[in-house]
Structure formats: structure tokens, C-alpha cells
């Protein structure tokens, strides 16, 4: 039990927050509300899972928010043009994958730092989305697209199904496959990974394509929720995606990844947002609380790291004292 808590430090605060909300509001524990929280968390966890790979590699992708917008626009305009649903979905995912590929190539082959490269694609893709829509909403009413968010295979909301499948896949990839090992190896020391013969550039490109794909899927989910696509969709989403991963305990400098943590991070953020809504607090508090949460999580991590380091030299005397007492 203590081992689980140590591995997933977010578990305790999450349960705590849920308990507080369960006591202080009478609506939090209603099935309808819990389902809302879970669906919102699922939608946020999907890009979080891909972003976990990116951060495990020690890099960021800032362009995911713009990808959401362009993918949503691509899908909606394909539907408006009378294309079949399957084609529209593929177009949206393809747009995401292409943006990821562009990021990966610019970063690995042209040697631009990830932060700046994805910052630039973020601006470019957002511009493309705004230019294509000319500032208008692309409104669709497609029951097929709606199914992505509102559908219930076996009575479970579709986003939750997607998130669970993807989280399982992500967990398996990062913990049980060669690719996952490679990603973490690059994160802990890229030069060493290169020296030991890993196809570093190809792995990095693959991860960016993965993040792009998840951005495309995120865009589809958001467009499915709103039944529209426009150039303003997904503003600031990149910070959400990164926050979720960092909250989950994936090391910021790479080398370690926790998919379970990411999923819990998404749950935590959406629980707090939901709780603050239920308590009728102004939206400003939501921002503040997410910010404080982020700082607190990292401060706790740092504190524990320091404690560990501090106790190391005199660990033996401490044990001796304990046994003596």
C-alpha cells in the first residue's frame, strides 16, 4: 500500500479532494456529475498520455492546442463538403500526424530546439486554422461525429472507453516494449542513447507524430462536443496537456514516465474544476487553484528528493537509534 502511494503520489490528494467535495456539496457524488467529471478527465487524459512520452523524452510540444483547432476545422469542413464521416475523421487525424511529423523533422533534422520549433508551429498552425475558416465557425450537425463524445458502447461513455484503451496501450508501450525503453533512455541521456546505437532521430519523430495524432483526436472530441470547428478552439490547451503530465509525476527533464500518474492528473484537474463550479466560485479561482496545485505537486516532489538525499549519509545511525528505542 505504501509502495503504491509512493509510486503514485497524486492518489492521496485526489481522494482527499473528492472526500471534501463529497461532504461540502450534495451534488458531487450524483452519478450524472461523476460521469461529467470522468468524461472531462478522459478527454484531457488522451493528449496527456501522448504528452507523457514527449516529456519522458525530456521535450515539450507546445503546438498541440493549435492542432486541436486545425484538426477540428479539417473534420468539420470535410463533413460540410459532404464527405463521409470515416473520411473526415481520417483527415483530422492525418492533419494531426502531419503537424507532428513537421515538428519532428524540424527538430531532429534542422536542429531547432523543441521549445522554439513547436512554438513556431503553434503560431503557424493557429494561423492556418484562422485563415482557412476566415474567423467563422464551421457548424456541423453530424450524429456520427457526436457519437465520439455522446456515444455509449455497453453503457460506458465513449471518451472513457477511448481513454481507458489508450491508457492501457500507453502503459504497455512505455513499460513493456522496446520503444518505451528507448524513449526513456533518450530522456535520461540523449547522447548516451545515440552512442549506444539507438535510432534517436526516428524515435523522436515518432513521438512527435504520436503527440500530433493525439492532438488530432483531441480536436475531434472537442469538435464533437461543440458540433463545430473554428480558429479559436484549443487556445491554451498546450498548457493543460503539459500540466496534467507534470502533475502525474513524469520527470520534467525526462527519463521517467508515469501513465497512471497522467490519468490521475487529468482526474485531479477536472475534479477541482468541477468542484469549484459546484461551489459557485468565480472562474478566476480555477486558474489560481490549477497554478497552486502545479507548484504544490512539484514542491512536494522536490522536498521528498531533498529528504532522501539528506538522510542518506546518516541512515545507519538513524536505524540504530530506532532499534535501540
Amino acid at each position: 500500500m505504501t509502495n503504491t502511494i509512493k509510486k503514485v503520489p497524486l492518489l492521496v490528494p485526489l481522494v482527499l479532494v473528492m472526500a471534501i467535495l463529497a461532504v461540502s456539496t450534495d451534488t458531487f457524488l450524483s452519478t450524472g456529475n461523476l460521469e461529467n467529471v470522468l468524461v472531462a478527465a478522459a478527454i484531457l487524459a488522451i493528449p496527456g498520455i501522448a504528452m507523457t512520452f514527449c516529456l519522458a523524452m525530456g521535450e515539450f510540444d507546445l503546438s498541440i492546442g493549435s492542432t486541436v483547432s486545425l484538426a477540428g476545422v479539417a473534420c468539420c469542413s470535410a463533413l460540410i463538403a459532404g464527405q463521409p464521416l470515416a473520411f473526415s475523421l481520417v483527415v483530422a487525424l492525418g492533419v494531426g500526424a502531419l503537424i507532428g511529423l513537421a515538428n519532428g523533422v524540424v527538430i531532429t533534422k534542422l536542429g531547432v530546439t523543441p521549445f522554439i520549433a513547436t512554438l513556431a508551429t503553434m503560431v503557424i498552425v493557429r494561423g492556418a486554422s484562422l485563415a482557412y475558416t476566415d474567423g467563422h465557425d464551421q457548424i456541423v450537425s453530424s450524429p456520427g461525429l457526436k457519437y465520439l463524445v455522446a456515444g455509449r458502447p455497453l453503457g460506458v461513455p465513449m471518451p472513457i472507453v477511448l481513454a481507458v484503451v489508450l491508457a492501457a496501450l500507453g502503459w504497455w508501450t512505455i513499460n513493456r516494449t522496446r520503444f518505451g525503453r528507448w524513449v526513456c533512455a533518450i530522456g535520461s541521456n540523449r547522447e548516451a542513447a545515440r552512442m549506444s546505437g539507438l535510432p534517436v532521430d526516428r524515435i523522436r519523430i515518432a513521438v512527435y507524430v504520436l503527440v500530433g495524432l493525439s492532438g488530432g483526436l483531441w480536436g475531434l472530441l472537442i469538435s464533437s462536443q461543440l458540433q463545430k470547428g473554428n480558429g479559436q478552439l484549443g487556445l491554451g490547451f498546450e498548457l493543460d496537456a503539459i500540466t496534467v503530465v507534470v502533475l502525474g509525476g513524469t520527470a520534467l527533464l525526462g527519463g521517467r514516465a508515469s501513465i497512471v500518474g497522467t490519468v490521475l492528473g487529468a482526474l485531479m484537474i477536472e475534479t477541482i474544476r468541477n468542484g469549484l463550479n459546484l461551489l459557485n466560485t468565480p472562474p478566476a479561482y480555477q486558474r489560481i487553484s490549477v497554478g497552486l496545485l502545479l507548484i504544490a505537486a512539484l514542491a512536494l516532489l522536490a522536498l521528498r528528493r531533498r529528504e532522501k538525499r539528506g538522510t542518506k549519509p546518516n541512515r545507519v545511525p538513524a536505524r540504530v537509534q530506532e532499534s535501540a528505542a
Partner: protein, 347 residues
């Protein structure tokens, strides 16, 4: 492998005469963006005839001032190997507090409030990083949310504004006055850049910041204190935000929590475009200065050509990638032995 490079190194140096190559690279580091800016300015009369009119130039200078001032602080931060992602939140919060102070106590109170709020924001960041040991990236990402949130809270009943009857107050004049044809915000910006340059090149703390940026552990072994560097850098960023807020708020006259969304990326882009290395250890204020104007002149030219704002973004993003690609390729080919490494397929 290692012995091979050991033996090859000197010969390569002798054959290619690396010293001249490095100095050319150095020249590009400091003056490359400035050269691009001059090139762009030389082209503008042909593309946009109205651009060189005095009024237009003044407005460009005025618009660039607040980005430029914060970019000075950010150059220090990035040179020390850290980002400050919270500058947008700081600017929003400082602007709101400044307007509240002005409406309560006049010009002196407003100026004092701007500087104090900026410094306090910087102190909060520095405290999070040095006391709580949160990595700068996350600490400032978190405080970005917090500062913006507080600014939203303070403006729940509508944005703070500068009432029109105060148009002749010394405070409002900061944004509108020209001295010898030069807008005051621009003069403030030049002063901040000059002070920043002296601080970076002529003082111990500036040198230490650069040293810390190029290798924190080496700097630590030399007796440079992390705490002091972090404190210096983040308080400096706060101070520049305080000064920038004065020129910003007297320009737009209104502020709420959403003021200047995405400001941090604008500032970081300018600093990096100017040639300051993201890895730290290398900072060039001349480059930052030119990069700020490169972006705003390019913007202005695009506007005058009737290019829509959506396409402006695309162009700016491409400029950023091209500039950084040149830099990336240059550093890749400039270090010894890297030529072969770059040509060799990595997979």
C-alpha cells in the same frame, strides 16, 4: 573512437584555421539579427512606401517598447538557463494594480505600485524556485495561472480603466509624449537595454549569471550561489515587467485578467530570435533589441500590405523557424568533428 577524435582534432584546427570561423560565427551571433533588420528596413520603402513616415515609425517604436523592456529581463533569465513563463500574468496583474493605484492616489502611487508589484511577482517566483525547489519552468507556469487568476479576481466587476479626464496627467503622458520626436516608451526601453547591457557585461553578477547558465555545477564549484543568481534573475524580470507595465498601460488605458494573453511566448521568441541560447550561458542584448524590432517591423509591413492577421502568424512562425534553423545548422557545423557527425545518418 575516442582516440581517433583525439588525434584528428589538432590537425583539423590547423587545416581549417578554426579561429576565423569562430569569430565569424560570433559576429553572426551578436549582429546577425541586426543585419536582417537593416536588410528589412532597406526593403521597406519598396514594399510599403508609407512605412517610413514619422508617425508610423513612432507608433512602431511605441508598440515595441513593452515587449522590448521585458525581453531584457528575459534575456538574463534565458542566459541563466531558465524561462520565466509567468511574464504575461505578471504584466496583467501589474497593469491592473497600477490602474487601481492611479485611480486611488495619482501618478506617484501608480509608478510606485507598478514597480512594487513587479518586484513582488519576481520575488514570489524566486522564492518558489529557491526555497521550495520547484523547477523554474513549472514554478513560473504555475505562477502564470496564479497571477492571471488574481488579476481576474481584481477585475471581476469589469476591467480597470484609465479615465479619459486624466488624459493630461503626467501618468497618461508616459504613453503619448515624444521627446525630440522619439516616444517616451521607446526612450525608457533604450535606457533599460543600456542598463541591462552594463549589468550583463560590466558587473560581477552579470558575469556570474552567464557562467551559471553555461554550467550550473561548474559555477557552484566556483562559489557562485544558485540562490543569489535565481533571486537576481527573477526579481530582475519582475522589475522589467513593472517598468513595461507603465508603458503598456498608458498606451492601452485598460487592463483585466486576460490582458496580453500569450505575452510570454512573444517575449521568449524575441529573445531567442536575437541569438540568446536556450541552453543558457550565452546572452546578447543587442540581438534581443534588434529581434524585437524585426518582429514588429515585419508585422507592420504585413499589415500595410493588407495581409490578414491569420497569415501574419504563419509568416512570423516561419521566420522563427528559419532563423533558428540557421542557428542550429551553424552550431552543428561549427563545433569540431561535427561536420562528419551531421552528415552521418544518426539511425
Amino acid at each position: 573512437m575516442s582516440t581517433q577524435t583525439m588525434t584528428e582534432k589538432p590537425s583539423e584546427k590547423a587545416v581549417t584555421g578554426r579561429s576565423s570561423k569562430v569569430s565569424l560565427g560570433r559576429l553572426w551571433d551578436t549582429w546577425g539579427v541586426t543585419a536582417l533588420l537593416v536588410l528589412l528596413l532597406l526593403c521597406t520603402p519598396a514594399i510599403a512606401p508609407g512605412f517610413l513616415e514619422i508617425e508610423n515609425l513612432q507608433s512602431v517604436l511605441r508598440e515595441s517598447a513593452y515587449v522590448g523592456i521585458v525581453a531584457v529581463g528575459m534575456t538574463f533569465a534565458i542566459a541563466s538557463g531558465a524561462f520565466d513563463l509567468s511574464v504575461g500574468g505578471q504584466l496583467a496583474l501589474t497593469s491592473v494594480v497600477t490602474l487601481m493605484a492611479f485611480n486611488g492616489g495619482g501618478t506617484a502611487a501608480a509608478v510606485a505600485a507598478a514597480i512594487t508589484t513587479g518586484l513582488l511577482c519576481g520575488l514570489v517566483n524566486a522564492g518558489l524556485i529557491t526555497r521550495l525547489r520547484v523547477p523554474p519552468f513549472v514554478a513560473t507556469l504555475g505562477s502564470l495561472f496564479v497571477f492571471r487568476g488574481i488579476a481576474y479576481l481584481l477585475t471581476q466587476d469589469g476591467p480597470q480603466t484609465l479615465p479619459y479626464e486624466h488624459v493630461d496627467s503626467p501618468f497618461a503622458k508616459i504613453g503619448s509624449l515624444n521627446v525630440a520626436g522619439l516616444p517616451v516608451p521607446f526612450l525608457i526601453m533604450v535606457a533599460v537595454f543600456a542598463a541591462g547591457w552594463v549589468l550583463m557585461r560590466r558587473t560581477a553578477i552579470g558575469r556570474r549569471t552567464l557562467a551559471y547558465g553555461s554550467s550550473p555545477s561548474a559555477a557552484r564549484f566556483c562559489g557562485i550561489s544558485d540562490t543569489r543568481i535565481r533571486l537576481f534573475v527573477f526579481v530582475l524580470v519582475g522589475l522589467t515587467v513593472g517598468i513595461a507595465a507603465l508603458t503598456y498601460i498608458t498606451r492601452v488605458w485598460t487592463a483585466d485578467g486576460s490582458a496580453q494573453d500569450g505575452f510570454e511566448l512573444k517575449v521568449i521568441a524575441a529573445v531567442v530570435l536575437g541569438g540568446t541560447a536556450l541552453k543558457g550561458g550565452k546572452g546578447t542584448l543587442i540581438g534581443t533589441f534588434s529581434a524585437v524590432f524585426l518582429v514588429s517591423v515585419l508585422n507592420e509591413v504585413l499589415v500595410s500590405q493588407g495581409v490578414e492577421s491569420a497569415y501574419q502568424r504563419i509568416v512570423l512562425g516561419c521566420v522563427l523557424i528559419v532563423a533558428l534553423t540557421i542557428d542550429g545548422l551553424r552550431t552543428r557545423f561549427a563545433s569540431p568533428g561535427s561536420f562528419r557527425r551531421a552528415l552521418r545518418p544518426t539511425s
